[in-house]
């Protein structure tokens, strides 16, 4: 779990975009841990959300993840 959280953070810090889809995050993590299952990655991402490290961005129709404080403020520009 801790390893997956770290892999998610690495992906989030290095991703070109400040918001990204779950699927892209999943692929990013699986580059490091090819055996990581979607459910485990989701659990790790949820833990990061609950810790306030990751945030959700939603348009209402679809949802993306982002790193708190990186490139996004609460109010989109």
């Amino acid at each position: 779990m801790e390893e997956l959280k770290k892999a998610i953070l690495d992906f989030a810090e290095n991703s070109k975009k400040s918001k990204f889809y779950f699927k892209d995050m999943e692929k990013g993590v699986q580059e490091k841990f090819p055996d990581a299952k979607m459910r485990e990655i989701k659990k790790a991402a949820t833990a990061l959300i609950n810790e306030g490290v990751l945030i959700f961005f939603s348009t209402g129709s679809s949802t993306m993840y982002g790193l708190k404080g990186r490139g996004m403020t609460e109010d989109p520009e």
């Binding site: 699927k23 609950n50 945030i55 959700f56 939603s58 348009t59 949802t63 609460e74 109010d75």
Partner: protein, 472 residues
């Protein structure tokens, strides 16, 4: 097995939860409404009030007047929020573009859905709607409320929001329109701890499941739509609140093919009640309809004189599969040919009823137009039993999700994925055989291709033996 709630149901007593007095709730007269003007010029919106249909503009003006007369210390969101919303909308009409920014971060701690961040890009001009977030509240199955619940939520939303709501959004939720970021957590606390009420889905989540009134009131219901909706809502909490899907995913539950929640048109997975035995016929009641003793359609079309009931013309001749006949005064149905369209049952409900071996058909892939145009669901499982604990249904759902989450692109609905990958590919993942019911029209979508392993003997054939039977 009857329905059992997973937890004790809470009764909401308005006397204990109310925020406003009766005088405050009814605080303006119709005369005042006639002379009331909102603070912005809204000529196009005024236009929308004309004509025969109810208008949201008329409702919004009532709310604006109501708020202008409420005590200021009994509203935590600006009193003129509705007026600013109308003003900005008028400007959007003038400019031909929206002045809402696209999306936002706001949410309830730990929830990835249920709150949709909305911000105005004209906050200087319309300060009260600088934040104007939407909350989706998970409606109870089949939308059964009591007045205590409705009044409580109205008071709560007047106090901590704009007072404007949309009952219900097309997914089924109660949609609360317009509040500020600071009020989100307090509203969520009130909803969950006081009203025992959860938020619904939004974004790339399982959306709030929605059910027809089902067995609660409707004799046609072939399974307990509310129980299934309730069970899946509870079972898939993680999918509802923590988005990890490629895009939205909707469940809808219709108790019979009449489709009162239009599951076939509006859900990625439609659960439609059906039966696999024979339509039950009460021949005496058939005779009574013919004799004019019972009104056809339960009297639904009685507003005009259509003449006497003609079973040949109104029932037998309209059966889409022509599987009904009258022989010697007896109505006969060739049940294997019946497509369960419900027409005959709707016309003569006292004479005809669905069979007793009931369950569901599952259809997949309906969606609104964004890519490839609007699409109805395609029949995938012709019949499945639908009884607690619904493990067979959950197993099916999870197989579908696994495939979609693996193969689906970002923002690709299940129906689009099935189109892209083909229906046979989808059926293979599910381990289901193709069935004639999946063909929309014979010879128009011949999408089943045989694979070598499906054909006895494979592609190899004895060419000598063939030539002996077939000369060149």
């Amino acid at each position: 097995m009857g329905f059992e709630s997973k937890r004790e149901e809470k009764e909401i007593k308005y006397a204990e939860t109310r925020i406003y007095t009766d005088a405050e709730v009814h605080n303006y007269t119709e005369e005042e409404l006639k002379s009331f003007k909102v603070k912005h010029d809204i000529p196009d919106l005024d236009e929308l009030e004309k004509g025969p249909w109810p208008s949201f503009v008329a409702d919004a003006k009532r709310e604006a007047l109501h708020r202008s007369k409420l005590p200021k210390d009994k509203m935590l969101v600006a009193p003129d929020v509705v007026e600013d919303m109308l003003g900005q909308l008028q400007l959007s009409f003038d400019d031909g573009e929206t002045h809402w920014k696209h999306g936002g971060i706001v949410g309830i701690m730990g929830y990835g859905g249920g709150v949709i961040g909305r911000y105005s890009d004209l906050a200087d001009k319309y300060p009260s709607i600088a934040h104007f977030h939407t909350l989706r509240v998970n409606q109870p199955a089949s939308k059964f409320y009591d007045t205590g619940f409705l009044r409580t939520i109205c008071d709560l939303w007047e106090y901590r929001g704009s007072g404007m709501m949309n009952l219900h959004g097309s997914t089924g939720d109660m949609v609360l329109l317009g509040t500020v970021t600071d009020q989100l957590e307090p509203i969520f606390f009130e909803l969950t701890h006081v009203m025992d009420q959860d938020l619904g889905g939004s974004g790339s989540n399982l959306r709030t499941p929605s059910a027809c009134i089902g067995k609660a009131r409707c004799e046609f219901s072939c399974y307990d739509t509310q129980a299934l909706s309730y069970e899946l809502t509870n079972h898939y909490q993680d999918e509802l609140h923590r988005p990890a899907f490629p895009y939205k995913f909707k469940f809808k539950f219709d108790g019979c093919p009449n489709g009162c929640v239009a599951s076939i048109a509006r859900s990625d997975m439609s659960f439609i009640g059906t039966w696999r035995d024979d339509i039950r016929i009460d021949q005496e009641a058939v005779k009574a309809y013919i004799a004019g003793d019972f009104q056809p359609n339960g009297g639904a079309h009685a507003g005009r004189d259509w003449g006497g009931f003609d079973i040949e013309k109104e029932v037998i001749g309209l059966c889409p599969t022509r599987c009904m006949v009258m022989e010697d005064g007896i109505l006969k149905i060739n049940n294997p040919e019946c497509t369960r369209c419900m027409h005959c049952i709707n016309v003569m409900p006292r004479a005809l009823r669905p069979g007793l071996d009931t369950g569901i058909s599952i259809l997949c892939g309906a969606k609104a137009p964004i890519l490839e145009g609007a699409q109805m669901s395609t029949l995938i499982v012709p019949f499945m039993k639908a009884e607690p604990p619904y493990d067979n249904i959950k197993e099916f759902i999870e197989k579908v999700w696994e495939w979609w989450m693996e193969e689906g692109k970002n923002r690709e609905r299940l129906g689009e994925l099935i189109q892209r990958k083909s229906l046979p590919a989808f059926l293979e993942v599910l381990g289901l055989p193709p069935a004639p019911q999946m063909v929309k029209a014979p010879r128009s979508n011949p999408y089943i291709f045989w694979k070598e392993e499906d054909v006895p003997g494979g592609w190899d054939r004895d060419i000598k033996g063939y030539r002996e039977r077939h000369k060149r």
